[in-house]
Amino acid sequence: MKQGLLVVLSLIALTSLCDTINQLLLKSTIDSLNFTPTLNIIKIFKFIFQLISQPRLWVGLVFSLISLCVWLVVLSKADLNFAFSADSMHYIFIALASRFVLKEKMGTRRWLGTGLIVVGIIFVSLS
């Protein structure tokens, strides 16, 4: 485990990156559809149909498939509790992507939170 830590962390970074790309594509697809949450089954199905006809969604799904395959390799090499906590590095990628790609505004609290996550991942990796 110790020797392979760097390999496992790199693989987790790779899945996190693929996940972030997928989330960005999903977010931009959904934003373009202007859907409002509802419990109406027909409306939900209509929404799902609209969703699956968007090419961006499918590109996102390819990324999530890659992410899944790499994630399974990670799980075969590491404990679940370690892998899961370390996988929170996707918060860092998502924060950066939200700020610089989606141009969402980021306040100090959000940056501070992202910093705490970084510290947490370091502690989890050290143990």
Binding site: Q23, L24, L26, K27, I30, D31, L33, N34, F35, T36, P37, I44, F47, I48, L51, C69, W71, L72, V73, L75, S76, K77, D79, L80, N81, F82, F84, S85, S88, Y91, I94, A95, S98, R99, L102, E104, K105, M106, G107, T108, R109, R110, L112, G113, T114, G115, L116, I117, V118, V119, G120, I121, I122, F123, V124, S125, L126, S127
Partner: protein, 138 residues
Amino acid sequence: MFKKKVTLKILLLLIASDILETAIHFLFKKSTLVFNQGQVTDLATMLVFLKVVFSSGFLWVGLLTVAAVFIIWSMVLSRIDLSVAVPIASFSYILVPVVSIIFLHERITALRWLGVFFVLAGVVFVSLSSKERTELAK
């Protein structure tokens, strides 16, 4: 354009996704335990590994759960921003280690729990910043 705040309905959807999310990771871990031909070191062994894992029932039940979470997330993300929605789905940070200890017999050191709580604190801070975002909008 600024989206609505987190409502009770969205919060309940997120809690449901937390529980399902934990189930997904447990099922995926179980599916990788089916493979007992050593470590994945290169692309060739990775393909053999994936073939074994993808024929495991655990993986497919896990993937069905992913589909359920995907639908829930689609509903949530259409209402609130990505950088707010993702962090609230944080309860699984406690659930996953607990499930790991009980069902997978993994050991968690004090330092690792500390790390988990730092991550969780970070996630809570990021969630709180949804208020900050409204202030920034003014």
